[in-house]
Amino acid sequence: MNAADPVVQMQDVQMVFTSVDGDRFTAVEGLDLEVGSGDVVAIVGKTGCGKSTTFNLLLGLERPTSGSIQLLGHDPHKEFDWFRSKLGVIFQTDRLLPWRTALENARVGLEILDYSEKEQNDIALQWLHKLELQGFEDAYPHELSGGMRQRVGMARAFCLTPEIFFADEAFGHLDQSTARRLREVFLELVTESRKTCLLITHNIHEALEIGSRLVILGKPGHVLADMETPTNATRAEMAEFEDRVLDIIEANEVVG
């Protein structure tokens, strides 16, 4: 794989679910997407436009009905095990295992990679501290606030030094100020790592804040628009851009 090759490549991807009664539901249809190395891309769209399905397909948790998906030149579903330690994922809810402490949760990916216990703890502690969780290493998830739990979730992803970061509505359930602070931290760490990052969100504000590129998904999952986010824009220019994005989403709503 060359450095110029796309890190993420989806070609004409289709995903159709068939229910027990035989009803068919198309979640993703004709989805094409390319993301280059080091890009930070935000994927926006309304609820039910196949964002979560796209996310699961990218992680290789589901097999597309047709089309091809390549991450780093490999198929995330067919070559499932090849992706050990390569994907850093931050989920909508923190998904911390309730029977593990913050430290034990943060190091779970390293345990899977069979690191020595000392290495596991050293790396996990380093990230927990970087994410300002000193003193909470031995706390169970229920003893932490929502923002702290999501920080542990971030530590779990960053511990692996993965090739690609995925975030699925990672800040959606937090209160506004906590979400904003965490977004900043996240962006800082991702930029520092120079890795590729895909952020899925329904929040346009969040998308503009983090992504340097904006991909708008329409129903059923396909690319409606793909644009650069304005840099150094004035408040008014930003608002105008936001309006344009909303218009595109709403136009798709009317047709759909």
Binding site: L61, L97, H142
Partner: protein, 279 residues
């Protein structure tokens, strides 16, 4: 450290006073159950004044019979025999039930075939199994093992199955994104996720097992609490009948306590319960 230092400085009289105060506060914290049992004991004792001792023996007579059992090695052996039967039967049922429950949890075909059958078996009264066992098997230990297997295996399997099914897909997806081996997935998610269900299954089955084993021991057993209860009934010895029952209940409570202790140790991660209906 500090409190220890202060305690050693206390004079013997003051120390005794402090100890009394502590005892009183411990008792005061448990005053409701103490009062309940006190009232029951008093009512029983009063009844014993008016009714013949072979129907309602006095508290003292029961206590004497109780002490006789606990102090005698051979008699205590009967209790241990019964407890041993219960535990062996439960362990057998637990192992087979867990294997079945795990298969059901992971294989839809197995689940579809076995779930209705297990629910049907659960509807069969434990006493029916006792009758079947007596007809089918002549050996007492075989009968008891069979009864416990039939009575508790479905229960274990269903609870374990339920425990596995209730492990959230969210956790599963989170771990699968990390690409664990099957073994890692089992040790990091399935096993710890199952523990609450396993503890519940033991709590439920211990009580059930004690009841059916006693009944099974009434027929053909030469040892065990059931056998001793039968002898007491034949000889019309009410104090002994009650004392044997009390001894068994005591042992069962100790077992329940052990499970509660394990629960406390293993489920430390659970948020503390916040009040109940009563508060």
């Amino acid at each position: 450290m500090e409190s220890e230092a202060t305690r050693s400085e206390l004079s013997p009289a003051r120390a005794q006073e402090a100890w009394h105060a502590r005892l009183l506060s411990v008792l005061a914290a448990r005053k409701e159950p103490i009062i309940s049992f006190g009232v029951i004991l008093a009512a029983w004792q009063v009844a014993s004044f008016f009714l013949p001792p072979y129907l309602v023996p006095g508290v003292g007579a029961i206590l004497a019979a109780f002490i006789e059992i606990v102090a005698s090695l051979t008699l205590l052996g009967d209790v241990l025999t019964t407890m041993g039967r219960i535990f062996l039967g439960l362990v057998l049922a637990f192992i087979t039930g867990t294997i079945l429950g795990v298969f059901m949890g992971f294989t839809e075909t197995v689940e579809k075939y076995t779930l209705p059958v297990l629910h049907f078996i659960m509807g069969i009264p434990a006493l029916s199994w006792v009758v079947f066992a007596i007809i089918w098997f002549s050996h007492v230990e075989t009968r008891i093992a069979f009864i416990l297997l039939a009575g508790c295996l479905p229960n274990y399997a269903l609870i374990i199955h339920d425990g596995i099914k209730s492990i959230s897909k969210e956790y599963l997806d989170m771990l699968r994104a990390l690409r664990p081996t099957r073994k890692q997935l089992f040790s990091k998610l399935i096993l710890p996720g199952m523990i609450p269900a396993v503890l519940t299954s033991w709590k439920v089955n211990l009580g059930l097992a004690a009841r059916v084993v006693i009944v099974a021991e009434l027929v053909g057993a030469t040892r065990g609490v059931g056998n001793k209860l039968l002898l007491a009934q034949e000889l019309f010895e009410m104090p002994k009948a009650i004392a044997w029952t009390l001894v068994l209940v005591t042992f069962l409570l100790i077992s329940q306590f052990v499970i509660l202790f394990l629960e406390h140790k293993l489920l430390r991660w659970r948020p503390a319960k916040q009040g109940g209906m009563a508060t």
